[in-house]
């Protein structure tokens, strides 16, 4: 699914990644770790198609609409409600049974009661939950998750575990984290950036 050969990335004159090799087969689960500033986010953005490598070759074998990308920012409009945000993405991704799925996800992530509130008024954890809803909404084949456990409480983290449990094996995962124990049991590939 993902094949990186000697990938490097520069920002201006600054080298952020060098010689990264990565192979994630369909259904694999790649765990990316490394200290702050190692380039995890940069690598994930490239795999999601938001940036290009400066060197090397990167192949991601999946069309854009089958990718779900969880970034550091929640990527939702602060002035819209949760419902309006998910509805918009549902339309753009042409999700079948859109309204039903939106309702189901909001309920699953405990946001149903708050669905009519401005996202700007959400707490950080609620925003992260909404971002997860956004990512799962169109049932992607490749999930690129950048520190997905951030800001989640214990129950939220368990929820995410369940989701991973359910999807893992079937979908391909590329996950970065500072707490590798949490997802260690899923991992089929490990990449440590330095």
């Amino acid at each position: 699914m993902i094949e990186a050969r000697n990938v490097g990335r520069l920002f201006g004159d600054k080298r952020v990644l060098r010689g990264v090799d990565l192979d994630v087969p369909r259904g694999g689960f790649a765990l990316v770790t490394g200290p702050n500033g190692a380039g995890k986010t940069t690598l994930l953005r490239m795999c999601a198609g938001l940036a290009l490598p400066s060197e090397g070759e990167l192949r991601v074998d999946v069309t854009r609409e089958r990718i779900g990308f969880l970034a550091h920012d929640p990527l939702v409009y602060r002035e819209l409600t949760a419902l309006e945000n998910l509805d918009l993405y549902g339309k753009l991704y042409r999700v079948l049974e859109r309204k039903e799925r939106v309702g189901m996800l909001l309920e699953r992530f405990g946001l149903w009661e708050a669905r009519h509130e401005r996202v700007g008024a959400y707490s950080r954890g609620m925003t992260q939950r909404l971002a997860l809803c956004r990512v799962l909404l169109h049932d992607p084949a490749l999930l690129v998750l950048d520190e997905p456990y951030t800001a989640l409480d214990a129950q939220g983290a368990d929820l995410l575990d369940e989701q991973l449990d359910e999807l893992h094996g079937d979908r391909t995962f590329l996950v970065s984290t500072h707490d590798p124990e949490r997802v260690e049991r899923f991992a089929t590939t490990r990449l440590v950036l330095a």
Binding site: L10, D13, S54
Partner: protein, 226 residues
Amino acid sequence: MRRAHRIPLPALAVAALVLVVAALVLVFFVAPNDADQGFSQRIFYFHVSIAFTSYLCFGAGAWKALRHLWKRDPHADLESYVAVHQGVIFGSLVLLTGSIWAKISWGHWWLWSENQLVLFLVLFLFYAAYFMLRFSVDPGPQRANLSAVYALFGVVLVPVSFMAIRLAQHFIHPVVFTRHGAAFGGWILVAYLVSQAAIIVLAYTLYRVELAGKLLAARVRELRLA
């Protein structure tokens, strides 16, 4: 392979030098004095050639931009930028020579009533903004894309602005080929053509020099970062 049968840079430089000298000789010693403007009219040979050349540079920049967007030609971004840069340099020279000429023959450095001048100013402003744009993005694929897109906008803007100026229905000044009709022949024509050739070759030489420098700098940077 496209680069293989390029004219070597030294040969170009020599050709540019020879042509410029020839043009200077023709313009100042051979071509006849203009009937109503006298000696100052000789600036025309350069003014017009430079204006034409700057349009050529903008066109070349747009062509390279298209190659970048379309073929992802790896050098095209730099080539496009250098071409536009030359265009802006020659554009400044148009403003300069034009202003000098205007001061001599009209007594003003600048006339807002001359729409042709204002049009050129508009284009000049646009390309100046192109530079601002390019320098406010970090080097990388994004900068290459944005530069290319605006280089294309520039060449679309040129004819559109021309049309707009025509529509503005004011007196439009550079109508040499009709106004001077009969007088435009003989040594005047030769002097003009040679100056035009000289300026074009000069521009191409400068383009190649700047490009070589930029490529070298890029190579050095690559080696340093490797």
